[in-house]
Amino acid sequence: MSSYLLFLILGLGSGATFAILGLGLVLKYRSGGVVDFAHGAVAMFIAYVFVNLRSQGVLPLPLIVVPDHIRISSTGIDTTLAIVISLVYAALLGAVLYFLIYRPLRFAAPLTRIAASVGVMLTFEAIGVLNFGTTSQTTPPILPTTPITIGSLTFPSDRIFFTGIVVVLAIALWLIYRFTRFGLATQAGAENDRGAALIGISANRVAAINYVIATVLAGAAGILIAPVANLDPTSYTLFIVPALGVALVGGFRSFWLVALAGILLGMGQSEIIKFQSQWTWFPHGDIPDALPFILIILTMTTRARSLLARGEAMTQRNPSVARPKNPMASAAFCLIAGTLIMLLLQGSLRNAFISSLTVVCIALSLVLLTGYVGQVSLAQMTFAGVGGFMLGHISHGWGLGFPFSLILAGLCAVPVGILVGLPALRLRGVNLAVVTLGAAFTADALIFNSQGFAGGLVGLPIKPPHLLGIDLSIAEGHDYPRLIFGIMVLVVVILMGLLVARLRRGAAGRMLLAVRSNERAAASVGINVPQAKLMAFGIAAFIAGIGGALTGYQQGTLTADGFATFASLGLLAVVYVAGIGRISGAVFAGIMMSSIGLAVTFLDERFGIGKYQTIVAGLALIVTAIANPDGVMSTTTGKGPAVLYFKLQDAVVARIHGTVTTKTPAAESEQPAEARPAVEQPHHV
């Protein structure tokens, strides 16, 4: 019995970390409405600062150029001093991040801020990998670990300190935000920053201070956990998932609930590990990682309301949505242009173009789901992965041939999409994003890591496609990747594009846009809002599943690498920044911005950006989000890269128009898909 208790107590360590990270997230949200996906990454970086200071006397800089560190002492420095320096460092970092990124975006749509914070997350993770490597580091304990014995139970005393720190922090924060002028100012600023300004509160300064405090908390969490859990860039960055989970349980408001949820989560995870070692019947696999998600789902389904009540204004500001003017002509143009590109490119670049097309396909599913219906999903790569791996099972085990195997693989993703979509019936905006992220994380841990479903490290073999005796496979002898395979992928992706265009133009699109615009009003005209949302999740999962299956055909042996949690986050951010309300946004994201796509591969081959790829992508994401809050492919801002791009596109189209019309009448009406002047969405406040 006491060993079960012991594991509960041991879990206090990670529980305290989740709690402190969650408290920081609450601060950021309460003061500036920011849900900061980079919170875990910043904690990771500060943890490295601390460890390097302590063991080598080196102060790492958030840079990848030389110098990337400053040597303070030739040996290590005193632990207390290292902690103090690290926390001051965190404060400075928080201030810099706030003024460079979050302040310029304080009036931007929530999704823009999410995209920017994902950029920060990717950047810091990349810096971590580049500067500190991926092998995990350990550091000696900070807190006293003398064994304490209570009854038959002996455990390290630091767990008591961990808990004490969380309790003290929660009390301190509660007192500050409840009773001090600063705390009230935070509240006022969060609710109405202009109103707060009128009564002499600088919402900006208050938000900045809160952001700094939150970053210091993130740093503290990173430092505290460093001796307990091995420090490496990726796993610390992923602390964001449980941290978001506990913040969500506290409704992004209550310090008490967040602290409690964090500690319980840590204890629960630890206890499950005990169960798994103790009871043979207990399900194996990465259940502890799935626990945050289960926690999120349970709280959310019991708490949230399905229909917004009167006076609960929609705070979500929707990106503009384009209406494709002439989908058939655009499709014909894409077919010709795509085939030409496929002919021009060879080897790795042609392969990168094919990768781009698969990304376009998955991005199309986001255009439908997040663009048209306003449902923020961070699980698209999960749907893609289900499609991809199911294709393996279908093509080999069941012996079904192309194209039925492909279609069936896409259909297999539909129930998963509907399942992930269920929380959307009660959740909106950022809350939904967190839940879908949890779902992706869980699928990652439970499904994609399983040997049987995903083939483990080796991967799952996919039978190459054949159609009517024609070999459509990607490789034949030294011919790789084959032209005919590329064209097959191109045709499938164009068909998916046509599906999305058709959906937008017909009754379904009107219904979904009505739901996005105003759920209350949609119900008043007889639209079954929950059903409409689930339908969107289902169709989007189908399209993403097709994209994943195409990836499967491309790779031959499919591994789970490409479908990790971060991939979904990166995809949403990239598509959002490219223009999530339009098909051309998906195309731009796949070809120009995807890290496996054509543009990045070309840059890599030409300029050898290689290992800097992620960091370039992360920085590009931040810059683009700040410069184009409504998406690169949007024409609403009337300035910046969007207009430049469309001038370019118009010029190209005009050129093609002149030369191609004689051959293909279809190309005549080729034009930018978003020819209608997009309307600036009103701000629902």
């Binding site: 009540a309 017909g506 009754a507 008043s524």
Partner: protein, 268 residues
């Protein structure tokens, strides 16, 4: 309650109660609306008018009582299903679909799209949508000039009309209007009144009108009810309501003069 009790009530509400926590917004109100009439609900701010509409249309669960529509108990039916039965509503703050044009706003209402229609529309050959009800609603609300505009591009008065048009495009049997005249100028309000009056008389749509504008309500309605602090304090014809001392008290205090003299004589 005095007042006429219609023989064939289209909407029959018995002791409807709406409470938010301890605050009672609607206290055991009985209402009965006959097919083919314009029924008015008036009351000062905070009287419970919108709570009442919300409870009737499925946006607020009542804490007690029953709602019958066309002989069916719809007390706990979900909002979109009530709409499909022919119970349409407008909103006080209009709440149009900002991402859709005026025409699409009406079209999406007339289609009452479900998943099956949407899927058929996706995979089967395109069919031109049935525009009968849309064109009728455009005609009734005189929206011909703005059909291709977006809600953000038209005036407040026009938006209000689009809201009415959107409710009508469903070809409902009963339409509940939440302050359609609020924010309109006198001329617009007058024109709106004429349109509302024509709905039961010429188009067979029963109207449940909630408004602040006494002159409009008295001019247009066949019968009306006055709500004050959640209680129905009077019910009857416009002439009766105009004379009712309790209404004068609620609206003007005890020393008030008769209400809305401007509308006198145009009541029925």
């Amino acid at each position: 309650m005095t007042g006429l009790t219609p023989k064939m009530p289209l909407l029959d509400v018995r002791s409807l109660r709406v409470a938010y926590g301890g605050v009672v917004a609607v206290a055991d109100v009985d209402v009965s609306v006959a097919e083919g009439e314009v029924f008015g609900l008036i009351g000062p701010n905070g009287a419970g008018k919108t709570s009442m509409i919300d409870a009737l249309t499925g946006y607020q669960a009542p804490s007690g009582g029953s709602v019958n529509f066309d002989g069916r108990d719809i007390t706990n039916m979900r909002a979109h299903r009530r709409a499909r039965l022919g119970l349409a509503r407008t909103f006080q703050s209009v709440e149009l679909f900002d991402d859709l044009t005026v025409d699409e706003n009406l079209l999406v209402a007339s289609e009452r799209a479900g998943v099956m229609l949407a899927l058929r529309d996706l995979f089967l050959p395109a069919r031109a949508p049935d525009r009968t009800n849309v064109d009728w609603a455009i005609d009734v609300c005189d929206l011909g000039g703005v059909v291709d505009r977006y809600p953000s591009e038209i005036s407040h008065g026009q938006r209000k009309l689009v809201g009415v048009g959107r409710a009508l495009a469903q070809k409902p049997r009963l339409v509940l209007m939440d302050e359609p005249a609020a924010g309109l100028d006198t001329d617009e309000s007058l024109a709106l009144g004429q349109r509302l009056r024509s709905l039961p008389d010429e188009h067979g749509v029963t109207v449940f009108l909630v408004d602040h504008d006494m002159s409009l309500v008295l001019a247009v309605c066949d019968r009306l009810m006055v709500l004050d602090f959640g209680h129905a304090i009077a019910q009857g014809s416009p002439a009766e309501i105009r004379e009712d001392p309790r209404v004068l008290e609620a609206y003007l205090g005890s020393h008030g003069t008769p209400v809305a003299t401007t509308a006198a004589g145009s009541g029925s």
